[in-house]
């Protein structure tokens, strides 16, 4: 189902955490809200769940205004960061809980729970206490409890952040598969851009209380709409130098570390430090007085002069992308 956010505002004390968030999330979309910590991502998600009320603005689900509905009446599913499993219940009782609240029949509940457990590979542990299972299993149980019913939309608040790096990659793939299978509207909050770029159909970057950019992952990376996004997205921030250095009549040009050919061309910079990532290395250099980072296959040492050319770049004016 579609979820429309209309001019949402939320103020805590003097801080406008959300300052007019507007977007339409399409049915069946995997929509990721990305932003640094403390930018109100979780607040936004909680407003969508109904746990918190916006100070202004509306939430419209499939044409219905649900802004003033409490969470128990919204038919949404949510996975919290710490999973929020009911510690007094078994795995099965946890997954059954939302179905029981809807008053479904016993056999029907049983059937649905078994099916979901199979889908997530937790059939073996159904009768264990949730406090007695591993972190990865807890995360699956939390997801099982969310997908066992048929909610209008799914809200996920950094559900993978408590897993270790390797498990996270596996869980990411699984989550994406499940979402495609259910054809559900997933709204997913994270501060991890890798997660955002690999999961999302569309990514919304939340900054200063607004969606600074909403676009497909590839576009977000290649055509960041603002300098802030350009610096926020990517393992290393986009490099910025004044346009005139490259002979452009524009305030600033930006290029990503991998948009260069090292060893060719007529630009030179001197290496300040080297960061090795896998096979390749990022050279942090000084280029005409500006600090930049460039990707190199070759090995360079601190103090070396490096020749390079820029293969593509974007033009920026007043911190915004020039089309």
């Amino acid at each position: 189902m579609t979820v429309e956010l209309v001019e949402l505002v939320k103020v805590y004390g003097t801080k406008r955490v959300l300052d007019g968030v507007t977007e339409k999330i399409e049915s069946g979309e995997f929509f990721v809200i990305l932003g640094p910590s403390g930018e109100g991502k979780s607040t936004l998600l909680r407003i969508m769940a109904g746990i918190e009320k916006p100070d202004k603005g509306k939430i419209i689900v499939d044409g219905d205004d649900v802004t003033n509905k409490p969470p128990e009446k919204r038919n949404v599913a949510m996975v919290f960061q710490n999973y929020a499993l009911y510690p007094n219940m078994t795995v099965r009782e946890n997954i059954e809980f939302p179905l029981k609240m809807k008053g479904e029949k016993k056999e029907q509940i049983r059937e649905k729970v078994e099916k979901v457990a199979g889908l997530l590979g937790i059939s073996e542990i159904l009768d264990k206490k949730v406090t007695k299972i591993s972190g990865g299993q807890q995360q699956r149980v939390a997801i099982a409890r969310a997908i066992v019913r048929n909610p209008s939309y799914y809200l996920l608040d950094e559900p993978l952040s408590n897993l270790d790096a390797r498990m996270r990659t596996v869980a990411r793939g699984e989550l994406k598969r499940i979402q495609k299978e259910l054809k559900g509207t997933f709204i997913y909050v994270t501060h991890d851009q890798k997660e955002a770029l690999s999961l999302a159909d569309r990514v919304a970057v939340l900054h200063a209380g607004k969606f600074e950019q909403v676009s497909k992952p590839k576009e977000l990376y290649d055509y960041p709409r603002t300098k802030w996004v350009a610096e926020f997205i990517g393992d290393f921030p986009m490099n910025f130098v004044p346009g005139e250095i490259l002979g452009e009549r524009v305030e600033e040009v930006g290029f990503r570390p991998e948009w260069v050919n090292v060893g060719k061309g007529d630009l030179t910079c001197s290496v300040e430090s080297v960061e090795a990532v896998g096979d390749s290395r990022y050279l942090i250099c000084v280029f005409k007085g500006y600090g930049i980072t460039i990707l190199s296959e070759e090995y360079y040492d601190v103090g070396d002069e490096v020749r390079f050319e820029i293969t593509q770049y974007r033009k920026f004016k007043d911190g915004r992308l020039e089309e």
């Binding site: 909680r46 769940a49 128990e72 960061q81 710490n82 929020a84 007094n88 609240m101």
Partner: protein
């Protein structure tokens, strides 16, 4: 290391000696205890006779039942008030919850002997004087703040998100309470009940002011001793003390200094 042991022995002796005396009084034959000018320091002639004689008959049973009734009633009234209060406080912002907790703590310090007299005067008018219900209502003043502290702590340790999750899963307030919050808080609730029970069981001031005549065990023990009925007093004391010592150990976790300290520091 040596100092630890010397300290340990001094401390241990100071705390154990009175208990040992109580034991001698209860089980040594009276000739070597209350009848002797210099009572024996060793268990020379152990007997159960003291206990058997004293604990027979209604002199003991009536106050025992009164004590049991009062303590249980206090536990129940306390929980009825403290469970919602503890939950409410745990869900209020600190700036609001803290003054309320301080208010409760300050009232806990109001002297029973000051409050007890006007209450006694009122209770005579309301026919609650000399009644278990009246005493329980007054003793709840002592237990309610403490139980509220314990339960506020218990409910605060249940993450707000667990409750949010239950709401998202479609549970209203009552369902959340009975399916999620109360089962998880059960150990804290049990502790609050037992501590209330224990405080009431021990309570003396309200008891002597509000039920002076046919009272609970502590007041009965007091009147036995002042009337020279020493053996009965001692025997009752022993029976009276045992459940409380057991409870003290069972509730050790909740009687910690951090808890008492945490209450004031906020």
């Amino acid at each position: 290391m040596k100092w630890s042991y010397i300290g340990a022995i001094v401390v241990g002796a100071y705390f154990l000696f009175p208990l040992y005396v109580l034991f001698l009084l209860a089980f040594n034959s009276p000739t070597f205890t209350i009848l002797a000018r210099y009572p024996a320091l060793l268990p020379i002639s152990l007997t159960l006779n003291n206990l058997v004689v004293s604990l027979q008959g209604s002199a003991f049973i009536d106050p025992l039942i009164k004590s049991l009734e009062t303590a249980t009633l206090v536990g129940v009234i306390t929980l009825i008030l403290a469970v919602p209060a503890g939950y409410g406080l745990s869900r209020l912002p600190r700036t609001v919850a803290y003054p309320i907790l301080v208010l409760l703590l300050v009232t806990n310090m109001m002297p029973a002997i000051v409050i007890g007299i006007p209450i006694a005067v009122e209770f005579i008018k309301l026919h609650l004087f000399e009644s278990v219900v009246g005493l329980a209502l007054a003793q709840t003043l002592i237990t309610l703040p403490l139980a509220t502290f314990i339960l506020q702590g218990t409910f605060s340790s249940i993450p707000q998100d667990l409750e949010n999750q239950a709401r998202v899963d479609g549970a209203g307030l009552l369902r959340r309470l009975f399916s999620i919050l109360l089962p998880i808080a059960a150990p804290g609730i049990a502790a609050a009940f037992l501590i209330s029970w224990m405080f009431s069981w021990d309570e003396f001031t309200y008891a002597i002011l509000l039920i002076p005549f046919h009272s609970t065990l502590p007041v009965t023990i007091y009147s036995d001793v002042t009337r020279g009925n020493l053996l009965a007093g001692v025997a009752f004391s022993l029976v009276f003390t045992l459940p409380v010592i057991v409870l003290t150990f069972a509730l050790q976790k909740y009687l910690r200094g951090e808890y008492l300290a945490g209450g004031i520091k906020g």
